[in-house]
């Protein structure tokens, strides 16, 4: 058993850590306040090879793999979680394209995506709910060499800034994943949701009205769209949430630890009071436990294991990563008292972001359904 990260993964961790502290931390408050998508930062991370971290080199990626991706998302989210969410969501489309796309689609879209010149979103969830995509109402009628798409999607992260959407739609009784470029007549980005956290990662509704796209925009085989969409959500979305959860938890823990070492009460730092110290110990232990469980899930993807084999490991990572962030962030606020609620101390914004992890990439309950099915089989 080898728990060592590779030298490349270690170097990546240090590099992204340094980048986040130097370039994200000073801007976090201002970014959150403005709520605008940080195109310049995305471009910068693309130049660092992070946007294309799991994409093959031939398409301008760095091909460092899924564990490296999780580490990068963790280090970014330790400082600025909305950027981690950009990676979590944007990579859904990257992965679907690189795994199931035609050579023509890969050559056309992956290089600009990796260079940060293009953004992609995944449009799956509908007003009927996200947990059961078999209820998808959006249709893609096949008419000659074109699909005609009609329907509405909700809670589509990045739709507001995306140049390209990966859309799940039904053709007769079969599901297809279809690429729709921004500006295609009949494809409309409608209202932006005003949500608690992830303020710089826009979430919008999108509508399709007789939106015609070439049949060659189909991703993967005809009728396999549901499997492609769900695999992306598991392999990319859930591991991404685990990384963000770890990052949020570490950021909050580090802030609370620093505070507990400095804040004096009864003539000594509050960290010397066992009530505070034990809370910090719990955070520390839970972060370590979740880290290794999550790394194991991502490492298995790098080992080439299939979704059927490791879907449960990934579900465990999402379940724990989300829970971890939502336990540690409020606890950090508690340790820091009123300061914990002050934006200046950077904990309360992470708490807002942590709440988004509950529904992201499948609810906690859906994770339990997945794990439950496995243990009862």
């Amino acid at each position: 058993m080898d728990f060592n990260l590779t030298r490349q993964q270690e170097m990546l961790r240090d590099a992204v850590h340094e980048f986040a502290d130097a370039e994200l931390a000073p801007r976090a408050l201002e970014l959150d306040e403005k709520g605008e998508f940080p195109f310049d930062i995305v471009k910068r991370t693309a130049e660092m090879g992070l946007v294309g971290i799991m994409t093959p080199k031939e398409y301008d990626g760095t091909e460092m793999g899924h564990l490296a991706r999780m580490i990068a998302i963790e280090e970014i989210s330790r400082v600025y979680p909305p950027l981690g969410f950009f990676f979590q969501t944007g990579h859904l489309g990257h992965w679907s394209l690189q795994t199931y796309g035609t050579e023509e689609q890969k050559k056309k879209y992956l290089p600009p995506l990796c260079r940060g010149e293009m953004v992609i979103c995944d449009a799956i969830t509908e007003p009927s709910g996200g947990s059961d995509p078999t209820t998808t109402q959006t249709t893609a009628e096949l008419a000659g060499n074109e699909f005609i798409i009609n329907g509405r999607k909700v809670y589509i992260t990045l739709a507001g800034v995306a140049d390209l959407a990966c859309v799940l739609a039904k053709t007769d009784d079969k599901f297809n994943e279809i690429l729709v470029e921004k500006g295609t007549p009949g494809f409309e980005i409608t209202r932006r949701e005003h949500l608690a956290g992830f303020r710089t990662t826009p979430v919008n509704e999108v509508a399709f009205t007789n939106c015609r796209v070439p049949k060659s925009n189909l991703i993967g085989q005809e009728g396999k769209g549901l499997g492609i969409g769900l695999s992306a959500i598991s392999v990319i979305g859930r591991t991404g949430v685990a990384g963000i959860g770890l990052g949020i938890a570490r950021g909050c823990y580090e802030a609370a630890l620093k505070f507990a070492k400095e804040r004096q009460l009864y003539g000594k730092p509050i960290g010397e009071l066992q009530a505070i110290q034990f809370a910090l110990v719990d955070m520390n232990v839970e972060i370590e436990a979740t880290k290794w469980l999550s790394y194991y899930a991502a490492w298995q993807i790098d080992q080439g294991k299939g979704i059927r084999e490791i879907g449960v490991d990934i579900a465990r990572a999402k379940l724990l990563g989300c829970d971890l962030a939502n336990k540690v962030a409020p606890k950090a606020v508690q340790i820091m008292g009123g300061y914990g609620l002050s934006e200046e101390y950077h904990v309360v914004r992470r708490l807002r972001d942590a709440l988004h992890l509950f529904p992201a990439a499948g609810t906690q309950e859906i994770m339990k359904v997945t794990i439950g099915r496995s243990i009862m089989a």
């Binding site: 030298r7 490349q8 170097m11 990546l12 240090d14 590099a15 340094e18 980048f19 130097a22 130049e47 660092m48 090879g49 992070l50 971290i53 080199k57 760095t62 091909e63 460092m64 490296a68 990068a72």
Partner: protein
């Protein structure tokens, strides 16, 4: 115009963990066990400057270090930052070297690498801060040396104007290559390592040379070759103690002034 550059780097304890460093009462040396290490920040400035010169002209940037096997990490990082090659001088015989023996060993390493136009290094290190190794290397190589460098400008082939920082102001020096320049931290902001750099560096391994490889004289290296003897190491323990005044702001200021007068701090 091609400029071949050798950058000397050192791995040092991370200053963020200096509070955990202890002194060994027997060997009189610093006990560094368990202290995380980094590349000396000044040396990263030297590497950055080397990379910028290479980007402007052409040539190679070769990184050189002397140290235990774990120094490899710093060399791998230098490769990921963009260095073309890296060499580690690693041998038990090099251990316990003072600045003179270190400079001799590095100079032998530079001679073994072969051709160079410019040697760059950090002006000092965060752990010992003597600032001696750079000038001593230059002496061993019989080349020009400028310390405290804050700006390097190429005038014409092999001729530079080098701005060096003084306590107040700066001095401009005309330098002809080959030369050794020891740089300060204000010279530039080192670039961050990228995933692209990491993956490119994965294909290049640092090469390791021992005492025989560089043809070093045994009596000039390591502890044996070091004329410096550490007789005593003392821990600095601040004896100053804060005093908190109480009362209204006016009372507290009055008390503080009285106390300062008592101590002779106010006339």
């Amino acid at each position: 115009m091609a400029v071949d550059i050798i950058v000397c780097i050192k791995q040092v304890p991370n200053p963020e963990h200096f509070s955990k460093i202890s002194l060994d009462p027997v060997t009189k040396t610093i006990n560094r066990e368990g202290i995380p290490v980094i590349t000396n920040p000044w040396d990263k400035n030297a590497l950055e400057e080397g990379l910028r010169i290479r980007e402007r002209f052409s040539g190679k940037v070769v990184v050189l270090s002397m140290g235990p096997p774990q120094t490899r990490k710093s060399l791998e990082e230098a490769l990921a930052m963009g260095a073309d090659e890296a060499f580690l001088l690693c041998d038990r015989a090099f251990a316990a070297a003072d600045t003179l023996a270190t400079a001799y060993t590095l100079a032998r390493g530079i001679q073994k690498i072969g051709h160079f136009d410019l040697v760059l290094c950090g002006n000092e290190t965060v752990d010992s801060g003597t600032g001696q190794v750079g000038p001593q290397i230059a002496q061993f190589l019989s080349i020009t040396c400028v310390t405290n460098v804050k700006e390097i400008t190429f005038q014409e082939e092999r001729k530079l104007i080098v701005k060096r920082a003084l306590e107040s102001g700066h001095m401009k020096v005309k330098v002809e290559l080959p030369a050794l320049l020891a740089v300060g931290q204000e010279i530039n902001k080192p670039r961050l390592i990228t995933a692209f750099g990491i993956m490119q560096a994965a294909e290049r391994e640092p090469r390791v040379w021992g005492c025989e490889d560089i043809g070093a004289e045994r009596d000039s290296i390591g502890g044996e070759g070091s004329p410096t003897r550490v007789l005593e190491t003392l821990e600095h323990r601040p004896k100053r103690k804060g005093k908190i005044m109480t009362g209204s702001p006016e009372e507290m200021v009055k008390k503080a002034i009285e106390r300062l007068r008592e101590m002779g701090g106010l006339i």
